[in-house]
Amino acid sequence: LITTFLVMYLLAEFDDAANLLAANPDATTISIDEPTEIPKNQHGRLQEPGREEDDELLGTDDSDKTELLAGQKKSAPFWTFEYYQTFFDVDTYQVLDRIKGSVFPVPGRNFVRLYIRSNPDLYGPFWICATLVFAIAVSGNLSNFFIHLGKPTYRYVPEFRKVSIAATTIYAYAWLVPLALWGFLMWRNSKVMNIVSYSFLEIVCVYGYSLFIYIPTAILWIIPQRVVRWVLVMFSLCLSGSVLVMTFWPAVRDDNRRIALATVGTIVLLHALLSVGCLAYFFDAPELDFPAPIIPAHNGTTLITKIQ
């Protein structure tokens, strides 16, 4: 709760800064959102990639309009309901497009500029995290059930505690890591002029949508084969990690080379830690069952040992 209030306070401050910038376009300050094109219709379909490439090559002529529009969009004070409604201003096809963009990263395309375009939403991050929490808990439970099925001493337990643990972990990751990253980027921006910088909500958005790939991964983790599970870990880490890297590399690339690499490395490392940690905690290790050679005991009964 405290984090939420802190975030809302920071957002309010940030909106003031955005409004100041919109009012003073000639000031030599960092642009809040780098625009790719005029957002003439927020509900329009995505244009073809060819046109977007041209638009990216265009200068930042439309930055004033974008900032004005961005400032106008979120001008309600943060204690009113309308303020929060601006974060849910997405249609079904927009959410589906953003999910698609997080699963199929196109090299060279920036997720934020391509899909978010100064309309970050909180619907995707919140419900993807909720689905992921229950996917991990349910899949972990099912996988443990199938692994231990034949054993005579096994009693099935629903393991409901793990739901709350999963929820805490995933929501903490989806909110605290973007907060830390945003703070870090703001601090670096004050030292080095970066062309590209993201607002806090855009970072939350990227992180939320990048977690989507873990939902089918968690379901596939039910398969009790070690190799399959690690291949899935690598595959999903590559996909979502590349989305994150391609998003944040332009934001740190103008900085000191070592700091840039360290930042991007930390992002990927935390992402990997999340997936490996979830795999290790919620899914029991599949035991390797192959029959050992039969050892005849003294009184003639046979012993079969299991190798774990």
Partner: protein
Amino acid sequence: FAGLADVSISEDIPVEGEITVPVGSHSPDEDYSTLDEPVRDTIMRDLKAVGKKFVHVMYPKKSSALLRDWDLWGPLVLCVSLALMLQGGSADSKEDGGPQFAEVFVIIWFGAVVITLNSKLLGGTISFFQSLCVLGYCVLPLTVAMLVCRLVLLAGSGTVSFIVRLIVVIAMFGWSTLASTAFLADSQPPNRKALVVYPIFLFYFVISWMILTFTPQ
């Protein structure tokens, strides 16, 4: 006022009329005063309203009665009975057991509040308590499924009983989701219906999962 000085009522014009106000039929306000009726009438009226809503849920036609006269008695009764029925397993296993009473309660109410907030933030026109009312009442098929599961588990807990329970829970989950969608989907903007229906699906899925994985000790 000199001209009025000589105006006077002559004494041979009779002045007559009635001063008393006739007490005719009861004014409409009297009908809303329920203080004088027997307690049984009050309780029966509320029970009938709750019962009528249960019937609406079981046969979800597009009627606005559920939305118009919302009440939270039905959801409370359903939630408490579902949470009670999900107990009785984990007395000795302190960890990794089934959900506790408080957990079920919190999941149902907190989940319903979050879904309602979600639909309102997406631009829905339904009111907060109406949505809570619908979501709570649509837990009824799942409560029936829980009852059936407990009865089936009394008979045995083998594979056959699991398959029967699975089919019952899946059927009731579908019924719940369809019933609540039938009531709630109309109040959403048309290009966001899926965004509103998905959390409802997730909510009833979690409750169904809790019901299906219930194992008595």
